[in-house]
């Protein structure tokens, strides 16, 4: 197995990337893709790593966790399946942006994402921002979603607005291209 997926999660502090990348380098591994984010105080990252030396993943995981545990972090590795490696950018989807705005209450994300899942829409990016306006917390959720071509965008909008209405959410569904067209040269 030449590629594996590594996730690292824990409290944010300086030196996490340095530590992880140094250990991977010692195993002769090459980091091909990486994404990281910080939510409040918590660090999370995901790496796709090429392992040309064929080192045993359990061994790499052990080494990483020995160092990271002392920093309050943990690492998880799993081999990357071949179909994931070969997965082409799908021509059967179109990128849409679904935005909701409304009161922040438990259950909204579940309701909205379940409606998307029922229509086989895949969320590729998701951000939620909470603002405090007029004495109540308002949550804005922005989902970038791959929508199967078989799903008509009007039915998608209708379904999302029905679900949103039940939670007091104002829902917009727009093709992603409009945002890029307006804001990018």
């Amino acid at each position: 197995m030449e590629k594996f997926v590594l996730s690292v999660i824990g409290q944010d502090k300086p030196g996490i990337l340095s530590c992880v990348s140094t250990i991977l380098f010692q195993y002769g591994c090459n980091i091909q893709d990486v994404s990281q984010t910080i939510l409040q105080t918590e660090f999370a990252s995901i790496f796709i790593v090429h392992n040309p030396g064929g080192h045993v993943l359990e061994e790499i995981a052990r080494t990483l966790n020995q160092t990271l545990e002392s920093m309050g972090l943990s690492a998880h590795l799993r081999p990357m399946a071949s179909h994931e490696i070969d997965s082409p950018a799908s021509a059967n989807h179109e990128p849409f942006v679904i935005t909701t705005q409304g009161p922040d209450q438990p259950g909204t994300i579940s309701a909205v994402t379940t409606a998307m899942a029922c229509l086989h829409c895949n969320v590729v990016h998701f951000r939620a921002i909470t603002t405090h306006e007029e004495d109540q917390d308002t949550m804005i959720m922005i989902f970038e979603v791959d929508v199967p071509r078989a799903v008509d965008h009007r039915s998608l909008r209708k379904r999302m607005q029905e679900v949103g209405a039940g939670w007091g959410l104002d829902v917009s569904v727009q093709h992603r291209e409009i945002f890029e067209t307006i804001h990018r040269i």
């Binding site: 917009s172 093709h175 409009i178």
Partner: protein, 457 residues
């Protein structure tokens, strides 16, 4: 990945600032429908329009939904009828007008433009028949718009046509007296009319255009106003150069919306994409006003001293942003100041802050002209012609489009309210200085020669 600001600012432009595509206008050439037989001609143009435009409304709605940008109006422009229907007399022209109106109704568009004659150099047989038919044609139709080009920088001003249009406007007002002279709201007199305007009432498909073409009119005065307000809130001392930059950047974004919608509609209809006309076109809704932009820039109202300079700044910044956003910017592209269609401008006129003379000065730097101006019903035809001639002279000399859409409201006087309804709005009748003393000048007729293209100071 999009950033939050990109998503949220786009949503705000649509939901709170009235950003929309004001019109997608399908241009349809009727020149090859020409026939000496009236019923063959009307059958041919009806079939042509209803075939070409049968999916226009559905496709515009589909594309608007897809991008989440409302396409408010779907319209049609056709070849100038004075050319396409040149063999017919004025009775025939009225029959053609009815056919255009019926076709517009049957495909579900709100306006069809092209009851048009181009007479800047002279009046041909078809032109005379069409102009003669205008009062009745505007009375018996609901959706049809008419435009007459009486001047150009290359040809000068056809003063015979200017005189004729003064009388025609009076006659159109009289025929629609029960509707506050509504017929005149669908009739525009132009200098330097562009061939690709998507906005009504001046839309027609130019002789030099393709068989069919999609032209898009994007609006967005509310978006521009809010952008200025935000810039001023962040920096109360922002100078005019900085605010011009804000308008330019905003115009860029708005034009991009028109471009993407226009291209997609054209692709789905299988016709050529023409131009985006980036015009700040107000509607009677609060927050969708060009007049309010003047206040955001620091003037008490449109019409006060400083207004012409402010409008010059707005108009120029809009053009610069639009030109950068699309290589296919055309039409009028600038700021409209239609009095009855803009609550704020109508209010300034009602209060006497904005006079006819100041409006005329503003038209030297705006993108169109004296637009939707309600005048006393007793304004003489010759005085109307005098106002038109002044407006045409501004366009001719300054190498720009100018237009006059004047409504002498029958039976009403200065200060009376008039109601046109819908997008045409409502306003108050403003005074005309020295009514009835331009007749000798207008009756001379002939033409005002084209200006020099050198020695232009």
């Amino acid at each position: 990945m999009l950033n939050d600001r990109e998503v949220l600012s786009t949503l705000s432009m649509i939901k709170n600032e009235h950003l929309d595509v004001r019109t997608v206008t399908l241009g349809i050439s009727l020149l090859d429908c020409a026939s000496h037989d009236l019923s063959r001609f009307t059958d041919a143009i009806y079939t042509r329009i209803t075939t070409m435009a049968k999916d226009l409304v559905a496709i515009c709605d589909e594309v608007g939904d897809r991008f989440g940008i409302p396409v408010v109006n779907k319209r049609i422009s056709v070849s100038p009828i004075a050319v396409a229907a040149a063999p017919f007399d004025s009775k025939g022209m009225v029959a053609v007008a009815k056919t255009l109106d019926q076709a517009a109704h049957d495909v579900g568009v709100d306006f069809i433009g092209g009851f048009t004659a181009l007479v800047e150099k002279g009046l041909a047989k078809g032109d005379l028949a069409l102009i003669d038919a205008i009062p009745e044609a505007l009375d018996v139709t609901q959706r049809m718009c008419s435009s007459i080009n009486v001047a150009s920088t290359r040809a000068g001003i056809n003063m015979d046509a200017v005189g004729l249009m003064g009388r025609t406007i009076k006659a159109a007002a009289k025929r629609t007296a029960d509707r506050d002279g509504l017929g005149c709201a669908k009739l525009v007199v132009f200098a330097n009319i562009p061939e690709d305007v998507p906005f009504m009432a001046g839309a027609y498909l130019g002789i030099g255009e393709a068989s069919s073409v999609i032209n898009v009119g994007v609006s967005g005065p509310g978006v521009v106003k809010r952008a200025i307000d935000r810039a001023v809130a962040e920096n109360p001392n922002a100078h005019l150069g900085e605010l011009s930059e804000v308008i330019k950047r905003t115009a860029y974004k708005v034009t991009r919306v028109g471009e993407i919608i226009g291209r997609e509609v054209a692709r789905l209809l299988g016709v050529e994409f023409g131009i985006v006309d980036l015009s700040l076109a107000p509607t009677p809704n609060v927050g969708d006003s060009v007049g309010e932009i003047f206040q955001s820039l620091g003037l008490g109202s449109i019409g006060v001293p400083g207004s012409t300079a402010a409008l010059a700044l707005i108009n120029d910044a809009v053009k610069k942003g639009g030109a950068f956003a699309s290589s296919r910017v055309g039409g009028l592209s600038g700021a409209f100041i239609p009095v009855s269609e803009d609550v704020n401008i109508a209010s300034a006129a009602a209060k006497g802050i904005l006079t006819l003379e100041k409006l005329e000065a503003l038209t030297a730097v705006c993108s169109v002209g004296l637009d939707m101006v309600a005048l006393p019903g007793d304004t003489s035809a010759e005085t109307l012609s005098g106002i038109i001639a002044d407006e045409m002279a501004i366009g001719m000399i300054n190498k720009k489009t100018t237009a006059a859409r004047l409504i002498p409201v029958p039976g009403k006087k200065v200060g009376d309210r008039v109601f046109f309804g819908g997008l045409l709005g409502e306003t108050t009748i403003i005074p005309v200085n020295s009514n009835g003393v331009s007749a000798d000048f207008i009756h001379r007729g002939g033409g005002i020669p084209a200006p020099l293209q050198a020695l232009i100071n």
